[in-house]
Amino acid sequence: MKTLKDSTVGSTVTVKKISGEGPVKRRIMDMGITKGATVFVRKVAPFGDPVEVTVRGYELSLRRADAQMIEVI
């Protein structure tokens, strides 16, 4: 199972499923990372975390730990 956390910088992935529940999951989805959305992994912060992605035409940053909840293909 591949997650957004494992995706390399510069790659474009499609969201398959988001695991977990509660505020973090809702927040991720509210921000537009939903099933079928295209996510471009833009860069990693200088200290290695968080990551910056482009989704629905804007820039979003999220922590690797949270990116692990997002299953992608």
């Binding site: 529940e21 505020p23 537009g32 099933k35 912060a45 035409g57 820039e59 922590r63």
Partner: protein, 717 residues
């Protein structure tokens, strides 16, 4: 007429609000939370009150801002909603719109930043968008002031006509059928609000029950929906909303085909580049610090304190009162107590305004979000936010603007933690104390100053780790899922307004506590008994004052810290108390108490007297106590203002003082044990305290583990 202004953060909402209301604004707080509430009257029609809702992405029940916004929309039922959406980021902005349209309140959508759309060569079709959403759509540019009048006219018309949105957004057939089933059962709710409540009930929103007269059991419908879509209802509905937006967006907004790199992307390529990010960050932070703390800010504050108040106003008032034959004590009270106290408040204002100007600029141009992005990795380990970096950096100059800088942190929990720990960083006024102790006891060794910063940083890290495991901080883990807004040049008006609002709120709220404390301490210092007679004292007679008596009475408290050993216990206690007015007072107080009217900034004259009065271990414990304990009154005023809650204020001050006491005790007792080899009860207590600290640091998150926190946050929030 009540109009609510709603929209995503960074959509230009504040700029639009300012453009609509001008100077007719009043700020307050939403009930029960520290979220700021702004209202204003529309410039064109004073009957129209506009409420600026907090910037939100959704109407979920998870953040205080979202809860405040939806409670207002449902409870107060404004006559219409003006929903501002960022035209360059339509897809995500319309997600909130789909939720607002369900509330049964007239909505007008204002698409902002249309000037940027045109520049990019993107085409927006407002009429098509209007038909797809079922409400009026108007193009505006809040920054340029275009279309604002029209937006206001439309929203007033919508409110007057009670023109409800025609909810056209079809979810998939199955989802829509279940939502309709539930809304048909909500007979106690007015028809136009049923869809909103039906969706919330299906989402298992636990906060919505309190807003309904009777809550029907919808578990059967939830089960049906979850089985059909093989997902949980919250996700299904989010998916449906975004699915609907994707289906309409292609017709309503056509992006320029030749995908050129936007200016913002070009800036970001450099600014958060893997190799350049940190050097650029360091340069920007240095510039902010250099200008607002060491140069312009310091000059302005120094001038206000020393020249404006010190040489002109206070002596002027004093001379004036003398000329009219005013009694000495009253003259002292007015000139030194009240006017001097006001001066202590106002002295910080110029420096603060310079800092707030920078912060407002960094926030509105988009760099502040990048600061959090860069520093998050380091700070979140200690329960702080990446944005805590700026308060701490500023705090090394002066704690007062440092604490005020915590405003930029959105998460309530991270902000409180930052406020509590910022003053652990040695500020400029603590440097003379460090110089005094280093000179008198350690032959001016450089390590004393370094160790002071080290102790400060350790206190921050340790406090972060200890506090995040306590009940006070257990709730609401802030998910770091943060938008990095496009860079843009902010409107000068908005930046200046934000600067002024923050400065003014400091003067109003922090001012009272500072003034009051300054007067009380002026009295305790300036009056006392000479030869059994209660009288007003001159500056050099401090050792006869009420304060000296208090110092003598409480000196025993500091015996475990080694202060009383050389017989100078009460002097040290008094010095620590006068340090509350301003930390550099510690040195001058020692000077007076040891018989010198005037001492140099590092107190070189009293080094020998001081070194005879205590051991090196006791001196270092005194230093650490003064570094960590409750900060000066001005900083306490700032803490009171920013916590906006008496309980939290006392918790912060109490925590700082207890921590200072414990750490100083351990330093003295263990230091004495190491240097002299004598093991007493104190040493045993110190080792026990070290063990306790270690336990608090290392204990597992325990029952506060993430899943339970989330469950709790969901229920009680």
């Amino acid at each position: 007429m009540k109009i609510a202004l709603a929209g995503n953060p960074n959509s230009g909402k504040t700029t639009l609000f300012n453009a609509l209301t001008g100077s007719n604004q009043f700020t307050g707080n939403w009930p029960g939370v520290t979220v700021e509430k702004k209202e204003g009257r529309y410039k064109g029609n004073k009957e129209v009150v506009i409420t600026d809702l907090p910037g939100i992405y959704s109407l979920s029940p998870y953040t205080p801002e979202e809860v405040v916004a939806r409670n207002y929309l449902i409870g107060e039922r404004p006559d219409a909603i003006l929903n501002i959406v960022d035209g360059t980021n339509l897809e995500r902005n319309l997600y909130l719109t789909t939720q607002l349209l369900e509330l049964g309140i007239p909505v007008v959508v204002a698409v902002n930043m249309t000037d940027i759309l045109k520049k990019n060569g993107d085409l927006l079709y407002p009429d098509k968008l209007s038909r797809a959403l079922g409400c009026e759509v108007v193009e505006i540019s809040a920054l340029k002031g275009a279309g604002i009048q029209k937006a206001a006219d439309l929203v007033i018309a919508a409110a007057t006509d009670m023109k409800l949105p025609e909810i056209s957004h079809p979810f998939s057939k199955e989802a829509d059928r279940i939502i309709t089933d539930v809304s048909d059962r909500l007979t106690s709710v007015p028809e136009e609000q049923r869809r909103f409540f039906a969706v919330k009930l299906l989402e298992k929103d636990e906060r919505i029950g309190s807003l309904l007269k009777q809550t029907p059991d919808v578990s059967a419908e939830i089960k049906k929906m979850e089985e059909f879509f093989d997902d949980d209802t919250e996700s299904i509905i989010t998916n449906e909303r975004y699915g609907y937006i994707s289906s309409i967006i292609k017709d309503c907004c056509v992006h320029n085909v030749k995908e050129t790199l936007k200016i913002s992307d070009k800036i970001d390529r450099v600014v958060t580049n893997r190799f350049l990010a940190l050097p650029i960050f360091a340069v920007i932070m240095f510039a902010v610090y250099y200008v607002s703390v060491t140069t312009i800010g310091d000059i302005l504050t120094g001038w206000t304190n020393d020249t404006l108040f010190g040489e002109w106003i206070v002596p002027g008032v004093s001379a004036g009162l003398q000329a009219i034959g005013c009694a000495d004590w009253l003259r002292g009270l007015i000139a030194d107590g009240i006017v001097g106290g006001v001066g202590a408040v106002l002295g910080f204002v110029p420096q603060m305004l310079v800092l707030f100007l920078f912060l407002a600029f960094l926030e509105s141009c988009g760099y502040m979000a990048r600061v959090a992005f860069i520093m998050d990795r380091i700070f979140r380990k200690f329960g702080l936010s990446g944005k805590s970096f700026i308060p701490m950096l500023i705090g090394s100059g002066c704690g007062v603007p440092g604490i005020m800088a915590s405003r930029t942190i959105e998460s309530d929990r991270d902000r409180k933690m930052t406020i509590m720990t910022t003053t652990f960083v040695p500020c400029g006024a603590k440097l003379p104390i460090i110089a005094l102790i280093a000179g008198a006891f350690f032959g001016n060794a450089g390590w004393v100053a370094w160790s002071a910063y080290f102790v400060g940083i350790l206190a921050i890290i340790g406090s972060g780790i200890i506090l995040k495991k306590t009940k006070m901080f257990a709730g609401n883990p802030a998910p770091f899922v943060m938008e990095l807004p496009a860079y843009h040049f902010p409107a000068a008006g908005s930046v200046l307004r934000s600067m002024w609002e923050r400065g003014w709120s400091f003067m109003k709220k922090a001012g009272t506590i500072i003034l009051l404390s300054a007067i009380v301490l002026w009295f305790l210092q300036g009056f006392g008994w000479i030869n059994g007679q209660f009288t007003m004292l001159s500056g050099e007679q401090l050792n006869f004052s009420i304060l000296a008596k208090i110092g003598g009475a409480i000196a025993w408290i500091f015996t475990p810290l080694g202060w009383t050993q050389g017989g100078a216990g009460w002097q040290m206690a008094v010095a620590a108390i006068t340090g509350l007015i301003a930390k550099e007072n510690v040195v001058t107080t020692f000077g007076i108490l040891f018989g010198f009217a005037e001492v140099a900034e590092d107190g070189a004259e009293i080094w020998s007297a001081l070194s005879g009065a205590m051991t090196a271990a006791a001196a270092y414990s005194f230093l650490v106590f003064n570094l960590l304990c409750a900060p000066c009154f001005a900083a306490m005023g700032a803490i009171r203002r920013e916590m906006n809650n008496g309980k939290w204020f006392w918790f912060a001050i109490g925590y700082q003082t207890v921590l200072a006491y414990v750490v100083s005790l351990c330093i003295y007792q263990i230091g004495t044990f190491v240097t002299t080899g004598v093991f007493g009860i104190g040493t045993a207590v110190a080792f026990l305290l070290v063990l306790l600290l270690a336990f608090l640091l290392l204990r597992p998150q325990g029952e506060n583990d993430m899943s339970k926190i989330m469950a709790k946050a969901k229920v009680s929030g």
